[in-house]
């Protein structure tokens, strides 16, 4: 039996930041299927095409965790969270949670962001190592990892 890797989504316009996060995930030895989107709009489209993506990725959709940047063109992180909370009521992605992944530490933004109950953590870019990332990810989606394995 092949082991199914739990799917996650990284939403960030910065290629370098996406690479760094992927590399840290790899270092942490987290076995995950990783989708990447360059802004909030692309990510929303990806989630909205629920039915077709379920068929396209039978074992890897919807993602169980989204790493979300804040400063992005078109639809930024905060706007994405608004739309995502509406989307959660319509389609079967309520098990999907969000972990912020940003270099911004603005208090007023943080307050708005953390008011969404599906936002489970806040990682500040460049301030954490692989071990820390693993710990946080395990705390949020540990039970899913068990389920998938």
């Amino acid at each position: 039996m092949t082991k199914i890797k739990p799917p996650i989504l990284i939403v960030d316009d910065n290629e370098v930041d996406r690479y760094i996060l992927k590399r840290l995930i790899k270092e942490a030895k987290l076995e995950l299927t990783i989708y990447e989107k360059k802004d909030g709009q692309e990510a929303l489209e990806f989630l909205e095409n629920y039915e077709s993506n379920r068929i396209k990725y039978p074992d890897g959709f919807p993602p169980i965790l989204i790493f979300l940047d804040i400063n992005m063109p078109k639809v930024n992180g905060i706007q994405f969270l608004e739309e995502f909370s509406k989307l959660r009521k319509m389609i079967e992605i309520s098990s999907c949670v969000v972990m912020m992944f940003s270099s911004s530490e603005r208090e007023e933004e943080k307050k708005i962001i953390m008011s969404h109950d599906f936002v489970k953590g806040y990682l500040v870019k460049g301030s954490f190592q692989a071990a820390e990332l693993k710990e946080k990810v395990m705390a949020v989606i540990g039970q899913h990892l068990d389920k998938y394995s």
Binding site: D13, V16, D17, Y19, I20, K38, P73, S103, K125
Partner: protein, 484 residues
């Protein structure tokens, strides 16, 4: 005549009226005194007559009584003369009653003569009969004088009464009329003034002239002083209102500048931190990869670090340019736009190398443009490089076209492309700092258009844009007087 003069006249008239009244009272009292003196004269003459009668009846002569009687008789004409002052004399002379004085003088003379007879009789130089004769002659004269005295005194007193009382009445009458006239004119000019000042504002176009005509004297001075005072007060109020407005607008613009600065600081620090923290993480990976012997991955990441550092450098340079854009420079010279375009093309080689766009520039200037070359180089380079970056891959012959020209008093730069256009909803944000609308193709700092805007504002110009999916046109208009 002004009010204070009118009032002074009333005071003078009243004073005259009062003094004439008092004077007449004194004169009338004096007349009464003259009558009284004449009565005493008659009384003492009568006493003397009784003494003389006794002598005629052969009774012994009481020489002392006779002498004292004569002295008493002599006293009234003396007092009478003392009472008459020069003014009385003048009046008497005027109405021909000055014989009063003559009567008195004669009376004194006779009394003196009789007293001499008394002395002569005492010494025995005069006989009893002669003495009696002298006394009788004197008595006749005394009685006659008393009789004669009454008429001119009555005449004088009645003259004083007949002249001064009508005079007092006339003056009083005049005074009353004058005071009422005066009070009427004062109150009416005050009333007129009140009416004039309380008239509706639209009807007082010529208020100044009206005031000039209708007021005079102290009221005019009062109005002028009041008007000056009100004018000054209004000026003060206007000034303070103006001051408040200035403060308000300055506070608002300071607030805006502060907000902009806060926004700028946030975005700048974010955009500065992002490549730095990326590079830091990548450097860490490079170390690990080298340790692990994966030099390929290490060198790939080292290249990314290099690119991150380049990005950081561009950002820092742009921030510095933006800060400089607000400060004027003395470095003004005639700009050679041909050379400026050549230099710019050289700088944009990296962008034009693999770019399918054609870049066409035209320069059509009838006057030399004198300004800071760096501003125009940055404006033109930013607009053209944006056009080159955001060309539309789906169009057959992508182009960017820049026209630099002048018409009369205005200098124009237009940059037109047939690129992908700016989405309608983002048009308002084009000149904001750190805005990038095309995620895939964005490479700059997001400060370029903000920098363009700052330069154009500095040059008192305006920039407008038209954009659709057919392409974008930026039009810059700068008044020539800033560029000569």
């Amino acid at each position: 005549m002004n009010i204070s003069r009118k009032l002074m006249l009333i005071v003078i008239l009243t004073a005259a009226e009062v003094s004439i009244t008092v004077y007449s009272a004194f004169e009338i009292a004096k007349g009464a005194k003259f009558h009284q003196l004449n009565f005493l004269h008659l009384k003492y003459t009568h006493q003397l007559t009784k003494s003389v009668k006794k002598i005629e009846n052969d009774l012994p002569i009481d020489i002392n009584t006779i002498e004292s009687d004569i002295l008493l008789i002599r006293q009234q004409p003396i007092e009478c003369i003392e009472e008459i002052n020069p003014l009385n004399y003048a009046v008497m002379k005027f109405i021909n009653t000055e014989q009063t004085l003559t009567i008195c003088e004669k009376d004194i003379e006779i009394a003196d003569r009789t007293l001499l007879s008394v002395t002569q009789y005492k010494k025995g130089e005069l006989s009893r009969d002669d003495f009696l004769l002298n006394l009788n002659v004197a008595l006749v004269s005394f009685n006659k004088h008393s009789e004669m005295f009454e008429e001119p005194i009555r005449k004088t007193v009645s003259f004083i009464l007949m002249t001064l009382i009508p005079l007092v009445i006339v003056i009083s009458f005049f005074n009353i009329i004058f005071i009422s006239y005066l009070s009427r004119t004062i109150s009416s000019s005050i009333r007129n003034l009140t009416l004039l000042l309380s008239s509706k504002p639209e009807s007082n176009i010529n208020l100044d002239d009206e005031l000039d005509i209708k007021t005079s004297g102290e009221l005019k001075a009062l109005v002028i002083a009041a008007r000056q005072r009100i004018k000054n007060d209004l000026l003060n109020i206007e000034n303070s209102i103006e001051l408040k407005e200035i403060i308000n607008s300055q506070t608002a613009s300071l607030q805006q500048a502060n907000d902009e600065l806060a926004q700028f600081a946030y975005r700048a620090s974010h955009d500065l931190k992002s490549p730095l923290s990326g590079a830091k993480s990548l450097a860490h990976f490079v170390i690990e990869d080298i340790k692990a012997g994966d030099t390929e991955e290490a060198s790939r990441n080292a290249l990314v670090i290099y690119q991150q550092m380049e990005k950081l450098e561009t950002l820092v340079v742009d921030i510095l340019l933006l800060a400089k854009a607000e400060i004027g420079s003395e470095d003004r010279d005639v700009i050679d736009f041909n050379q400026l375009i050549i230099d710019m093309k050289e700088r944009l080689t990296w962008l034009m190398k693999d770019n399918p766009c054609t870049l066409e520039t035209t320069i059509n200037l009838s006057v030399p443009i004198k300004s800071e070359k760096a501003r125009f180089a940055q404006i033109i380079e930013n607009l053209i490089s944006n056009g080159l970056k955001y060309y539309d891959r789906n169009k057959d012959s992508p182009y960017v076209r820049c026209d630099i020209f002048n018409e009369q008093e205005t200098f124009f730069i237009t940059v037109t492309d047939n690129g992908m256009g700016i989405p309608q909803k983002h048009k308002g944000e084009v000149f904001d700092m750190f805005k990038r609308f095309h995620a895939q193709t964005s490479t700059g700092s997001g400060l370029g258009m903000a920098l363009v805007k700052k330069h154009i504002e500095y040059l008192n110009g305006e920039i407008s844009l038209q954009s659709s999916d057919k392409g974008t046109t930026f039009k810059i208009v700068i008044p020539l007087d800033k560029l000569i």
